[in-house]
C-alpha cells in the first residue's frame, strides 16, 4: 500500500485482466499493491463496470469483490485484515440483498446498506476528481508567478529602550549579592523527624519480646555521633506518643537511667501489622 502511486496503472491493469478473463484461467493475478485499502479496490472494480458510478450494481460489485478475495485465499495469498473485514461485511450485505425484505424496522435494509456503500464510493470518486481538478488549475510557482524580486517594504524600527536607575541598581545589588552568597556553603542539618523515629520504634517493638533499652538499640543504628542527640530526642517524643496511644509500655529506673520499652500485649501485633502491612504469618498471643 504505497502512498506514492498517483496513477494506479499497474493495479488497474491487473484488475482489468481479471475482469476480462475467465475465472479459471491461470493468468489471473491477485494483487492489491498500489491500492489504498478495500474502498479503493472497490472503487476501481466499480469503474471497471464501465458505467456511471451512480448506476453501479452493488450486488455485482459485491460478487466481484468476494470472488477476488476467494481467489486470493485459494492461492493462499496474504490479504491485509481490512480486506477480509470488507469481505465479511459484503457477504453480509449480499445476504441482506438476496433475502426478501423483512419489515422488522430495526436494522437497515439491504438496499439502505447498498446505498450507503454506493455513497461512500461516489464520495471517494468525487474527491479524487476534485483533487485532479485542483491540480489542473494554474498553480502559483508552477504556472503563475509572484514577484520574483520582491522589494521588501521596510519597517524602520526606532527602538527606544527603557530602564530605570532603580531597576539597574536592583539588578546590580541582587546579582552581586547572589554571587557573594553562593560562595558560602550551608550544610544541611541532619535532623531525625518524629515520623522517622516512630517508624524505628515500631520496628523495635515488633522484633523484641520483652523490655528493651531504647538507647542500646539506637546505637546499632547510629554510627555518626552527631546524629545521636537528635535521634534520642525524637525517639523519646515518639515513644511518649506511642504510650499515649497504648501501643507500648515505658519505664525508667531513675533520672538519666536507660529507658526501656516493650510492646503492650495484644497491641504489639497491631503495630507490627500497621508498620509492615502484613496480615499473614503473625503469631497471635491470647489477649
Amino acid at each position: 500500500m504505497q502512498e506514492d502511486h498517483w496513477e494506479n496503472d499497474s493495479a488497474e491493469q491487473s484488475l482489468g485482466d481479471e475482469s476480462s478473463s475467465k475465472p479459471n484461467e491461470p493468468t489471473l493475478s491477485v494483487d492489491v499493491d498500489g491500492f489504498e485499502g478495500p474502498l479503493d479496490l472497490l472503487l476501481t472494480m466499480a469503474r471497471s463496470q464501465k458505467v456511471d458510478i451512480t448506476k453501479i450494481s452493488i450486488l455485482a460489485l459485491t460478487e466481484q469483490y468476494l470472488e477476488f478475495v476467494g481467489e486470493a485465499r485459494r492461492l493462499r495469498l496474504e490479504l491485509a485484515a481490512d480486506y477480509l473485514v470488507m469481505a465479511a461485511w459484503l457477504a453480509y450485505l449480499k445476504s441482506r440483498l438476496l433475502i426478501p425484505k423483512q419489515d422488522d424496522g430495526e436494522e437497515p435494509s439491504g438496499e439502505e446498506l447498498a446505498a450507503a456503500l454506493a455513497f461512500r464510493l461516489q464520495r471517494l470518486e468525487a474527491m479524487r476528481e476534485a483533487a485532479a481538478k485542483l491540480m489542473n488549475r494554474p498553480k502559483l510557482g508552477l504556472e503563475v508567478f509572484a514577484r520574483g524580486a520582491p522589494e521588501t517594504i521596510s519597517i524602520e524600527r526606532n527602538s527606544t529602550w527603557s530602564a530605570s536607575l532603580f531597576d539597574m541598581l536592583t539588578a546590580y545589588a541582587t546579582q552581586r549579592q547572589r554571587r557573594s552568597v553562593t560562595s558560602v556553603q550551608m550544610q544541611k542539618r541532619a535532623v531525625w523527624s518524629l515520623a522517622e523515629a516512630r517508624a524505628l520504634l515500631e520496628r523495635l517493638v515488633g522484633s523484641c519480646a520483652g523490655w528493651t533499652a531504647v538507647q542500646s538499640y539506637l546505637m546499632s543504628y547510629l554510627s555518626e555521633p552527631e546524629q545521636r542527640r537528635t535521634a534520642i530526642a525524637s525517639t523519646f517524643s515518639a515513644s511518649l506518643e506511642m504510650v499515649r496511644e497504648g501501643l507500648i509500655d515505658i519505664q525508667q529506673g531513675e533520672a538519666f537511667a536507660p529507658i526501656y520499652i516493650r510492646a503492650k500485649k495484644g497491641k504489639a501485633n497491631e503495630a507490627t501489622q500497621l508498620q509492615e502491612g502484613a496480615l499473614v504469618g503473625q503469631d497471635h498471643e491470647p489477649a
Binding site: 481490512d82 471517494l124 481538478k133 494554474p138 520582491p150 522589494e151
Partner: protein, 232 residues
C-alpha cells in the same frame, strides 16, 4: 470662469486618483504576498480612494502579462496563467504531493472543518501522520480548532496560501463545488440531509469547534514563520 474652476477641480481630483493608483500599484507590485485593504490603508494617505484604485488596476491589468488577482480579501499581482509555457524556467523545485496527500488535501478543502477521523472515513484508510504533516508544511492546511466531541479531535481547514497557490479568490471557487453540493456528496452522512454543508475556511470557528490551546498553533507557526524577532 466657473466651468474652468470645475474643470480645475476635476483635474486635481484625477491627479490625486492617479497618485493613489501609483501608490497601490507600487505596494502591490513590490510585495510577493497578497496585501489586504487594511495593509494598503495603513501605508497610504488618509484621503486615498483605495477601492477605486484597486478596481482600476484590476481593469487595466486584466489582459496584460501580469494580472491583479484577489485572494480572499487580499490583492496580489500574479503573472497571467496563459503565459505558463514561457515561465516554466522560473520554477522552484516543488515537491510533488503523494496521491494520499492530494486526496487528503481535496477532502480538507471540500469538507472543512474536518477531523482526521472524518478524512479517514471518506478515504476508507487510515491517514498516516506524515501525510498531514506534509500538508501542514506546505502551509496550505492548518489546524483550525477542536471539534466539540469526545476526544476533542483537531479540525483541519485550508489557508490563504492554499487559495493563493491554486488561484482561488474564495473557497467557494473550488472546482466542481456546486455539482458536489448538488449531488449531496459533501454530506457526512448518507441520508439526503436537509442542510447541505459547504466548506468553510473562515477564521471564525464553527459552532461545534472550540479553539486550540495556546501554543498548539504557535508551535507550528514558529516552524514556518519568517518573522524575525529581536531578543534583547
Amino acid at each position: 470662469m466657473q466651468s474652468e474652476q470645475i474643470e480645475g477641480h476635476e483635474l486635481a481630483d484625477k491627479k490625486q486618483a492617479f497618485e493613489t493608483l501609483r501608490m497601490v500599484e507600487a505596494l502591490l507590485f513590490a510585495s510577493a504576498e497578497p496585501l489586504s485593504m487594511s495593509e494598503l490603508t495603513a501605508r497610504l494617505p488618509r484621503q486615498a480612494d483605495i477601492p477605486r484604485a484597486v478596481k482600476e488596476l484590476e481593469e487595466f491589468y486584466r489582459h496584460r502579462g501580469v494580472r491583479l488577482v484577489k485572494v480572499a480579501d487580499r490583492y496580489a499581482f500574479r503573472t497571467a496563467p496563459d503565459l505558463a509555457a514561457i515561465m516554466q524556467r522560473e520554477q522552484e523545485e516543488q515537491r510533488r504531493l503523494s496521491r494520499a496527500a492530494l486526496e487528503t488535501l481535496a477532502i480538507i478543502a471540500f469538507h472543512q472543518p474536518v477531523t482526521r477521523a472524518e478524512i479517514e472515513e471518506i478515504r476508507g484508510v487510515s491517514t498516516s501522520k506524515g501525510t498531514l504533516d506534509v500538508l501542514l508544511e506546505t502551509q496550505w492546511v492548518r489546524m483550525r480548532g477542536r471539534r466539540r466531541t469526545p476526544g476533542r479531535p483537531v479540525t483541519y481547514g485550508t489557508t490563504l496560501q492554499f487559495l493563493d497557490h491554486f488561484g482561488l479568490e474564495t473557497i467557494k471557487d473550488l472546482p466542481g463545488l456546486e455539482e458536489l453540493k448538488g449531488a449531496g456528496l459533501l454530506d457526512s452522512a448518507i441520508p439526503a440531509s436537509f442542510f447541505v454543508p459547504a466548506p468553510d475556511d473562515s477564521d471564525e470557528l464553527s459552532e461545534d469547534e472550540i479553539p486550540l490551546e495556546a501554543g498548539e498553533e504557535d508551535d507550528f507557526k514558529d516552524g514556518i514563520s519568517t518573522t524575525r524577532t529581536i531578543e534583547a
